[in-house]
C-alpha cells in the first residue's frame, strides 16, 4: 500500500528530538521504521511528521556495564547480535534478537523501536521480562527508568508517556543460564508464542527463575507458576522442563490467550506449555 504524505525531520541528538517532539504537532518518532511504516502503509496510522531518531549516535550500541549490559535504543538487531557481552549476560535476549524476522529486518529494526511499539507478537517482551530489564526513557522533565514488570500495559501500550523517548535498556547480568524459543508464524514470522527463561543457578540448583512470554497474550507477561516451580529444582533433575512447561497455563484463563485466524486460544495455550518446556530445557542444557 502507499502511505499518505508526511513531513520528515531528522534529529541529531536526544535533546533535539525531544524539542522537535514537543514543538511538532502530530509527530511520531521513527527508528528502523519496520513497524511504523507498515502501520502507516496499511492505513492504521497517519502521522503528520516523522522525527527520525535512527541517526542519533548516543543512542546506539551495546555496552558492558558494572551490573550487566546496556543496549542503546537505536541499536539495530544486527549490531546487537555482534555483541559477545549480550550473548553472555543476557542469553535469552540475544536468542530472541537472533530470531526476529530475517536479515533485512534485523539490519533495520531497533531494540528501542521494538519495545516502544510493544507488538504482542514481537520477540522481545518475553525475554526482557525474563531478564529483569529496565527501560530508560527521557522526556522534557528528565530521565526515568521503568522496571520491565511495570512496562507492558496492554496491546501496543506501554508505560512510556507522551513526549518521552526510549534511550536504552539495561539488563542485569544473568548469573546462570537463559534461553528464548519461539513458535514462528508460518506467514508473518512473528511469534505465535515465545518464551524467555532466566535461571539463577548455584551449585547445580536453581535458586530463582524468571520466565516471560510473548505472542500468547495481549502483551508480554510472566509465567508465575513456572517460575515458582523452577525455584529449588536441580538442573539435572529428570523431568524438570516437562513439569515446568505443564504449569505455563496454570493461572491463565483461556480468554486471556490471543485467538486469530490461524490459531485458537486453546491451541495457543498448548503451544505456550510446549514452548515453555523447550525454553526451560534449553536453559537447563546451557546451565549444565
Amino acid at each position: 500500500m502507499y502511505p499518505p504524505a508526511f513531513d520528515y525531520l531528522r534529529a541529531e541528538s536526544v535533546e533535539e528530538a525531544l524539542d522537535l517532539l514537543s514543538d511538532t504537532e502530530d509527530a511520531e518518532l521513527l527508528a528502523g521504521g519496520h513497524s511504523l511504516l507498515p502501520t502507516i502503509k496499511s492505513g492504521l496510522a497517519d502521522p503528520g511528521t516523522l522525527i527520525d531518531v535512527g541517526g542519533i549516535d548516543d543512542l546506539s550500541g551495546v555496552e558492558t556495564t558494572e551490573e550487566g549490559v546496556w543496549i542503546g535504543a537505536t541499536t539495530t538487531y544486527a549490531d546487537a547480535l555482534k555483541s559477545e557481552t549480550l550473548a553472555e549476560r543476557a542469553p535469552a535476549v540475544a536468542d530472541a534478537i537472533g530470531e526476529i524476522g530475517d536479515v533485512q529486518v534485523r539490519n533495520r529494526g531497533t531494540v528501542g523501536g521494538n519495545v516502544a511499539h510493544a507488538d504482542p507478537a514481537s520477540d522481545l517482551p518475553g525475554p526482557l521480562l525474563a531478564a529483569d530489564a529496565t527501560v530508560h526513557v527521557r522526556g522534557a522533565d528528565g530521565e526515568r527508568s521503568i522496571p520491565i514488570d511495570d512496562y507492558f500495559l496492554a496491546m501496543y501500550a506501554t508505560a512510556i508517556e507522551e513526549g518521552e523517548i526510549v534511550t536504552g535498556i539495561e539488563i542485569p547480568a544473568c548469573e546462570g543460564s537463559g534461553a528464548y524459543v519461539k513458535k514462528t508464524s508460518p506467514s508473518s514470522g512473528y511469534a505465535v508464542v515465545g518464551v524467555g527463561v532466566r535461571l539463577a543457578v548455584s551449585g547445580g540448583e536453581i535458586e530463582s527463575a524468571r520466565v516471560g512470554a510473548n505472542g500468547a497474550f495481549g502483551y508480554g507477561r510472566r509465567l508465575g507458576p513456572v517460575e515458582e516451580f523452577l525455584a529449588g529444582e536441580t538442573i539435572d533433575g529428570g523431568d524438570v522442563a516437562a513439569e515446568a512447561g505443564e504449569r505455563a497455563t496454570a493461572d491463565v484463563e483461556e480468554w486471556e490467550l490471543i485467538e486469530d485466524i490461524d490459531t485458537s486460544s486453546e491451541f495457543r495455550g498448548r503451544l505456550l506449555e510446549a514452548y515453555a518446556e523447550r525454553a526451560v530445557d534449553r536453559a537447563l542444557d546451557r546451565a549444565g
Binding site: 502507499y2 504524505a5 508460518p186 506467514s187 508473518s188 485466524i261 503451544l271 510446549a274
Partner: protein, 781 residues
Amino acid sequence: MPVETVEAEDVRAGEFAGSAVKRREDPHLLTGEARYTDDVQYPRMAHLALLGSQYGHAEIGAIDTSAAEESEGVLAVYTHEDLTESGIDGTMPAADPENGVAVERPLLARERVRYQGQPVAAVVAEGRYDAFRALDLIEVEYDRLEAAPELEDALAEGAPRLHDAAEGNVCFESETGDEEATEEAFSDADHTVALTVANNRVIPTAMEPRAAVARYRKSEDALIVELSSQNPHSVQDRLSDVLDVPEHRVTVRVPDVGGGFGAKLQPYSGHLLSAWCAMALERPIKWQARRTDDFQSMVHARHQETEIEAALSAEGDLLGLRGHIDADLGGYATGGGVGIPQGTAAMLCGQYDVPAGHVSVRGVFTNTAPISAYRGAGRPEAAYVIERLGSACARELEIDPAEFRRRNFIPSKEFPVETALGRSYDSGDYEKTLDRALEIVGYDGFRQRQEAAREEEKYLGIGFSSYVEVCGGSSGDMEGGLVRMNPEGGVVVGTGTQDTGQGHATSFAQVVADELGVDYDAVEVIEGDTDRVPEGGGTAGSRSLPMGGGALREAAGRLVEKGRTIAAHQLEASEADIEFDDGEFRVRGVPDRTVTIEAVAEAAYSPGDLPEGVDAGMEETAFFTPEGSTAPFGTHVAIVEVDPDTGELGFERYVAVDDVGTQINPKLVEGQIKGGIAQGIGQAVYEEGRYDENANLATGSLQDYAMPKSWQLPEVDWESTETPSPNNPLGAKGVGEAGTIAAMPAVVNAAIDALSPFGVDDLDAPLSEETLWRAARGETR
C-alpha cells in the same frame, strides 16, 4: 545429488541438448540488470490506479468521483459508464461453457460487485501517489447483500444468488466417462472405498505483481502495451477485442517477468484499462498493482470439493471409479475456471488401469476472487484426489500402499493409452520411477524403523504420490518458431512462448545450436514481442519446450535443408550427396570438400552466389503442431515426523523420481521440479486463501498468507528416468508443473500415516499445527 552445471564452452558442439548448461539468464537477473514492467519509463507517463470493491457482495448505487477529480495531479476518474460511452462495451470476453450459462465480466463493476477487490473505478494521475490518494476520495454507495464465500453457502437452499442467469449459483455442469459401465463395475465389486477430498484455495503469488505500461501513437493509430505476462499473443488478441482496435495495430511486449504460474495468462482490468486510458488521454499510462491488489483481484486457484469412490476386487484391483467435483469459480467464470475442473475430472484415473469411470462436475459461483490456472491447473487437484484415494484403498484393504499402486499401474507395454475418463497418455514406465524412489528412500527397512520410533513416541509417516499429468500442448495447439542466421553467422531465434523465469533462452539455444551445429553463444533467443516473433500460444501447461522447442527445431531443420541446397551448389555436388554434421556440409566420400553453415549463410545473402530458384536469405519459420500431448510421471515419497503434542510437522526425507521424457537441460529440469515441489508443499502444509463469512479476504497480505520460505521446505533428493515422448521431435515432456502436481498428496499421505496410531485416516490441507494437533486428539477444528 544436485545436478552439476557445465559451462557451454566445455560442451562439445552438437551435444548441447542433454547438457546441464548454466542458465544464461542468471547474471542478468541476479545483478539487477533485469528490467521489469515497473522499470519502464516514458516522458509524460501518467499512472493508473484502480479502486477495488470494499465488499464481497453489494449493489452499487451512485459513485461520486467529484472530490477525486479535484485532487492534486488527477487527470481523470472513470467508471463503467465512461467505458460504454467511449463506444466499447466495457467487458472482458466471458467464458461460455457448454451446459451452462455465460455471465458478463465487466472491466469496471456495473451495478453489482461480487468479490472483494473487484475493480469499481479508475483514477489516472500525474504521479502514482496522486492516483492512490484520489482513490480514497471516490465515494461509492454500496448496498450490501448477503454473501456466499464458501461453496457450501452458495449451494445452500435460499442462498444469495450472484448472477440472475445462474440458478442455484451453478454456472455449468459436465460429466466424463461411462456411467453405465461404472455402475456395473461397482455392482460387481468386492469392496468400495469412498473419500471426500477438499483442494484448498491457494493464491498465486508471483514476486512481481501485475503491471502494464501502455502507449498510443495517435498519428499511426498504434497501441503498444508492455506488460508482465505469460502470453503476449493472447494479450494482443484480448486488447484488440476489448478495445475494438484491429490486431495489427496492437503491439505487445513483455519485459522481464517476475513469475506468472498461470495467473498472468490473461490480461486483467488494469492491463486493459491502461491501454484504454492511453488512447483516451493520449499519454503513456502505467498501472502497477500493489501486493494487496494481487491478493484480492488476481485469480485464485484450486478450490474444489470432491466425492470420490473406488470399486475394488477382493485382491485389490481397481474395477471402477466414480465421483463428483464441486468447483469454486469465484464471482465470475474465467476460461480457466470452467476448463480446469473438467480437466481434473478427466485426470482422475491417475497412473492406474481403471476399466470404468464416471465423474461429474458442477461449477459454482461464490463471492470470492475468480478461480483460474495456477501451476498445474487441474492436474494437481486430480493427483491429490486419486493419490489420497489410492492410499485410502490400500489402508482399507490392508495392502502395502506401494504395492497397491504397483498392482494397479497401467503396464508400460500398453502405451499409448486412453483412460476410462478420456485422457490420453503418450508413454510411461510407472514401475521404474516407483522402484527407484523406494530404493532411494530405503523403504525396505522403513516400517521397522517406524515401529521402533513409535515405541519412543516419535511418529514417522511415509506418503506416496505416483502421479501422471498431461501437458506440453496438444494436437489442437500450434506454436511458431523462427530461426534466422545472419550473414555473419549469428543466429536469432524467436517463439511465441514466454519465459517467466524458466530459462527458455538457455534451453532453446541448446536445441537450435545442436540442430545447426553452431556455437551455443551464437544463438540469441527472442520472446515477448508480437512484432518480432511468430504467432504463438505463450507459456502455460508446460508447453514451452515441447511446443516452442519443437517449432524451433523444425524451423532449424528447414534452414539446414535450405543450406544443403546452397552447399550443393557451392561444392558442385548433387544435393543427395551432401551430408550435414557438426555445422558442416560435406560431400559424401570426399572429406575435404566441405563448407560451414556460416559460409553458406553468408552466401545466402548474396543472390549471385545462389543456385537458380533459391530465394535469398537464411531464415525459416515453422508452425509446429505435435502429434499429441505429453504425460510426465513419477513417484514422490515424503517421510515426515509429526509431534502429536504440538502438531508440528518436520520433513525427514523427500524423494522425487520424475520422468519428463528427454531432458534438454537436466539442471533446468531439476530447478523446475524443486520449485514445483515448493508450491505443492505450500498448498499441503501452509497456504490457504480464506474469506470470512462476509466475504472479506482474511489472508490478503504476506503477513497473513503463508507463502513458504526456504527454511520451511525440505531438501529434495531428486532423480529422473527418461521415457521419451513419441509426440514431438525432441522427445521432451513438459516439466513446469510436475513437481507441484506430485508433492501435495505425498505430504498429506505421509502425515496421515504418521498419525495413524491415533486413528487418523483423513486430513484436510493445509496441515497447520492446530489441524494436526486436533486430528491426533480425534477432533477437527
